[in-house]
């Protein structure tokens, strides 16, 4: 068997048997790969802190004949989330990155755009800012997965929404104008739509520096999470934790 090498982001680990760990990696070369790290729980020597979720690593692994799980040979830390202070808020945000990637990405399908996005968001989450990287991640993941509807026109009548009010519904795709809105719809502000359009055109770093309170684009995030959850047909645990707050 050939030993493969790829940059990767550790998404999750689960204990497996006595001493092994089942590790879900998002590799740059092959997309999401599940592998077994033998004796990782007992002997920390080969893996050390490299298997902590959201660690950016260089992974060496090999596929095994007639087995779904790869064998994880070694992991070198390139960037660890433990290098900056881990507050409760940051832990929730990091877990949100892991959950979105794990739930939205298919197995064994490389996606370099998502990989670059994930690295940018992880580096954005090194500082105390939380809501900017999270909003950027949710918006771009929705777009890159192909779930983001046109934000500038009404899904029903096609009228432009720029400069007017826009609404969305938990059970329907896209935005609609005030005349086409259904009962129990939520509104998404014009500021948030303008911000989304700007975020779709510029890298994450270009938004850093300006303060980003929790309330900013909260309606956009709610819309994005509803869109994502409708597509994967399940609730995102960390979205609930973010909404609950208490940081």
């Amino acid at each position: 068997m050939v030993l493969k090498e790829s940059e990767a982001i550790v998404l999750r680990t689960y204990p497996l048997r006595e001493a092994d760990l089942l590790v879900t990696l998002f590799t740059r070369a092959e997309g999401k790969v599940d592998g077994v790290a033998r004796s990782a729980k007992k002997s920390r020597r080969r893996f050390g802190g490299a298997l902590e979720p959201l660690t950016y690593v260089r992974a060496h692994y090999e596929d095994r004949e007639r087995r779904e799980l790869a064998r994880l040979d070694s992991c070198e830390v390139l960037e660890s989330p433990l290098a900056s202070e881990v507050t409760y808020a940051r832990a929730v945000a990091l877990a949100h990155v892991a959950e979105l990637l794990d739930e939205l990405l298919p197995d064994r399908e490389p996606n370099d755009a998502v990989f670059r996005l994930a690295l940018a968001v992880l580096s954005g989450l090194r500082g105390p800012d939380l809501w900017l990287p999270i909003t950027y991640l949710e918006l771009w993941m929705t777009r890159l997965m192909g779930y983001l509807p046109e934000l500038s026109e009404c899904m029903t009548c096609g009228r432009t929404l720029n400069g007017s009010r826009a609404f969305y519904h938990a059970l329907a795709d896209g935005l609609v104008c005030i005349d086409d809105k259904r009962l129990a719809s939520s509104e998404i502000s014009a500021e948030s739509r303008v911000l989304a359009a700007r975020m779709l055109r510029a890298p994450l770093e270009s938004f850093a520096g300006a303060p980003w309170p929790e309330a900013q684009a909260a309606d956009l995030r709610k819309f994005l999470i509803q869109t994502l959850q409708r597509h994967i047909e399940k609730k995102l645990v960390t979205a609930g934790m973010l909404e609950k707050g208490g940081f």
Binding site: E18, G48, E52, P53, E85, Y88
Partner: protein, 199 residues
């Protein structure tokens, strides 16, 4: 149709629920129990029943105990003003092995784990804050695991524990004793340098 008699199937099914026990191992254990003498089998059943009937959490520190408060919390020779916070009751044994810690404990029964929906409100924190507020504590040592979840828990607790005159410390992280610096990963090395001490 099952190959085994119904009571055997039941025992195998129950054993399979234990962590790390698969179907094969459960079968082996079940046959072992079948072959042992009546006294041993009865002792095993009684031990299982006893654990559930007689063990509870210490009202002071949340350790698992058969007497309340637990042996640590009533000990006259231990420093009751030095409290070491751990994630799980099993962590106490690891610290006791050193024979160098003479304080008492507080067990959280978990750590902050956002992927599992576990926030601080799911942890057992309130009786720790009560102990501190009653002026019974000089120092709290945060001995949660050196992981993202353990760090988040320690950082959260240090914020909650901020009181005049209370010392809050975190256990050191770094190179394992007997290993080689050459094999330390980047983050372990960084933490050892951050946590260095004067000689």
């Amino acid at each position: 149709m099952s190959r085994f008699a119904e009571p055997m199937v039941r025992l195998i099914d129950e054993l399979k629920k234990l962590p790390g026990i698969g179907g094969k191992t459960a079968q082996r254990l079940a046959f072992h129990i079948l072959r042992t003498n009546d006294d041993d089998a009865e002792a095993l059943a009684a031990a299982v029943r006893d654990v559930k009937a007689n063990l509870r959490l210490c009202s002071i520190c949340n350790n698992i105990t058969d007497i309340d408060p637990c042996v640590y919390c009533i000990s006259a020779t231990r420093n009751q003003r030095l409290v070491c916070v751990v994630e799980e009751p099993t962590n106490i044994a690891a610290i006791e092995k050193t024979q160098h810690f003479n304080g008492v404990y507080h067990v959280l029964h978990g750590s902050i784990s956002p992927l599992h929906g576990i926030g601080p409100e799911q942890l057992r924190i309130s009786n720790l804050l009560r102990r501190v507020d009653d002026g019974q504590v000089d120092e709290v040592i945060l001995a949660t695991n050196p992981t993202v979840e353990g760090e988040a828990t320690a950082t959260y607790l240090s914020g909650q524990l901020r009181r005049a005159g209370l010392r809050v410390t975190r256990i050191a992280m770094g190179i394992p004793v007997g290993s080689d610096i050459e094999y330390a990963d980047e983050i372990t090395m960084l933490k050892s340098i951050e946590g260095r001490r004067e000689l």
